[in-house]
């Protein structure tokens, strides 16, 4: 039997370090927020032959009437090189202006066979609204979970269990954020999907452990010390946690590898953070949550003793 509760300091240090590094990282490197959230315009053009990027950029700025930046990106699927133009303005380009721009570009660079590959044009206020709405959705889900766990796990003081589970969720979401920060991935709808998936996965993991603690509490009653009770429960359900995680991660790795072979990048940038999030979810459910819960229970017991002592 592994003594998880005895090693809790190590777990806390690892997790605090992860959170600290991520916070520092996002402070210094910044989150690569997609225009889906912050608003703005990004236009991807494909072309043939050679093209003078500076001329291209100045033509764009002339038509749009604002500053813009240009970047080359190679399209792995087709093997061609694209020009990605981002406009500084975040208010979104109007459709008429957009048509004017493309017409002007294809006239000026007639020899290069300019073609619009994709347009991503988001009005800043709509982007902000979407971001806020996502946050509210996650917060609301967290509240609902605390309430549900509070009721279903009354036997093991459900409210504290619910709060600990949500702390673990925050921890896992931070792990996902870390991937996006340090690998410079763009925070877009994929990010939302990953966060939501981890939310569901991690809570499920945590509940399986709680369920075992609840059951053991019923079997062994209040006599068994909290630390031992939790250790026993973790060890009993650990194999399940490992098997499920290994199976899911393996399936994801297969998907990542196959799609990588076929050059489907959107799937890879989606699966990779998902794998990290899943690992973090398992870690937090097995190591972090039960230990935090034990600490809270011991703290409460100590406090109850003190007040008892005062009464006497």
């Amino acid at each position: 039997m592994i003594d998880f509760v005895g090693k809790r300091k190590i777990f806390f240090i690892i997790s605090i370090a992860l959170v600290a590094v991520t916070l520092l990282g996002s402070l210094f490197l910044g989150l690569n927020l997609d225009i889906q959230y912050k608003g703005g315009t990004m236009l991807t053009y494909s072309y043939t032959g050679d093209i003078n990027k500076d001329d291209f950029l100045s033509k764009v700025q002339e038509v749009v009437g604002g500053s813009a930046a240009i970047q080359e990106s190679s399209d792995l699927a087709t093997g061609s090189t694209n020009l990605v133009v981002s406009l500084a303005s975040t208010s979104g380009l109007s459709a008429d202006k957009q048509v004017e721009l493309t017409d002007a570009l294809s006239q000026t660079f007639a020899a290069n066979n300019i073609h619009t590959e994709s347009i991503s044009n988001v009005n800043a206020s709509i982007g902000r609204e979407f971001f806020l709405k996502s946050l509210v959705a996650v917060l609301f889900a967290a509240i609902v979970m605390v309430v549900y766990i509070g009721f279903r796990f009354k036997r093991i003081s459900g409210w504290s269990a619910g709060v600990m589970a949500v702390i673990a969720l925050v921890h896992d979401i931070i792990a996902v954020v870390a991937v996006f920060v340090f690998f410079r991935l763009s925070v877009d709808a994929n990010f939302m999907a990953v966060v939501l998936t981890i939310l569901g996965y991690s809570i499920n993991d945590t509940i399986v452990i709680y369920d075992r603690i609840r059951e053991n509490r019923r079997i062994y009653g209040q006599k068994l010390p909290v630390g031992e009770l939790v250790n026993k429960s973790i060890n009993q359900s650990m194999k399940r946690a490992i098997v499920t995680t290994v199976t899911t991660v393996m399936a994801l790795v297969v998907i990542a590898v196959v799609t990588l072979i076929f050059n489907v990048t959107p799937i890879v940038t989606f699966v990779f953070p998902l794998i990290i999030g899943l690992l973090s979810g398992t870690y937090s459910s097995v190591c972090l949550v039960p230990c935090m819960w034990v600490m809270w229970q011991e703290y409460r017991a100590k406090k109850a003793q003190q007040t008892d002592a005062k009464k006497k």
Binding site: A77, A95, N121, K133, V136, I203, A251
Partner: protein, 466 residues
Amino acid sequence: MKKVGKPVFFVVFVLILLLTLTAFLGVSTTFGDIPTTWIKGAQDIRWGIDVRGGVDATFSPPDGYDATDEEMAAAEQIIKVRMVSQNITDYEIYTDYDKDRIIVRFPWKEDETDFNPEDAIAELGATARLTFREGYETDASGLPSGVTADTIILEGKDVEEAAPAMTNTNEIVVSLKLTSEGAEKFAEATTRLSSQSPKGIISIWMDDVMISYPRVNDAILNGEASISGGFDAAGAKELADKINAGALPFALQTTNFSTISPTLGVGARDAMVLAGFIAFIAICVLMIILYRLPGIVACIALMGQAAGTIAAITGYLPSISSFTLTLPGIAGIILSIGVGVDANVITYERIREELRLGRGIDAAIDAGYKRAFTAIFDGNITVVFVAVILMGAFGPPASIFAMMLKPVFGIFGSSTTGAIYSFGYTLLVGIILNFLMGVTASRLMLKSLSKFKPLRKAWLYGGEKK
């Protein structure tokens, strides 16, 4: 659970196999030249524009203009008519009356080569040109020709209001109210046309699309006409909205649109299907190695869960419309399969524990499912909460969950991301199927199999080898 007989396994297995085959391959027949789809297969999945490319645009009236609900309904009709006239039928449109926004999403058509999305978006939002023309002569491509092209009786600005109405004889009609200038022109034309034999026709056009062509029965002198023609309430409202669109005092604007070229297209889809297939095989191999007989049962149950999810996305029957599957939607499927695997793992680990405690096979299976159920139930229900909240927050404004959660998300406008709605949907469906397949069907199959004599060895269920 009471007695489960030996044949139960075969019944459940055949049902799941049938579901899997039909849900993935579909059933269609070709009689003569007319293909009929009886059951929709995986090839009928409607992929979101983030997968197959397409256009996503949010239209709104010009800044500072507070449009009425009638005006927004009229604007929605303009876009619908134009979609159809551009031959785009596979579109989604949502109108948010609180925030005055119309969200339109449409994917590329198969084998689309020279479609210009930028022009399409600009055209969708342009002011609608409504005309009442004499006769209904059209050329081969449906454009007005002859006298219909030459004689414009009324224009959008001549119409004050159109609305559905009910006559004394309980017939639903569209009533028209014209401006004084319009009334004069209309009086002249209707006098002339109603005296013709047979009586003349006035056709009503939006841009280059004919939306109605009523016959002129009487001269209308006071500028108040009604169009009859066996309308139902919805039909009358639709025509009234379209006519009102011509009188709309603004052009729709969009500063929020995106287009994705279909480069990802078919290759990516095939890659994803292949990836999913290989991943599934890998899961099966692992399950069977780890859990032996229950592992095989788990694979059948998971197959049923995957097939059920596909069926829920395509709609299965041709009369049920399909659901759009986006990248986050695929994530929802992965998560629900993961949770499905977990349900099986929890149960089989429990059965193994019970066996090692010295219980017999039947008792161990019963105890295993019973003990595992609370964990599976609580875990899955919390995931259902997440799914429902997401569907409420990011679904179409009129859906049940959106109505339910209006107190929470009411301050926000309808979202432009159907992508996350798709996640919530596949997740919800997956979890429900997990209860059906991973819990119920798997228990039926395993209990039935355990009745066969050659299969009554504890080792097959993870017990010690004797």
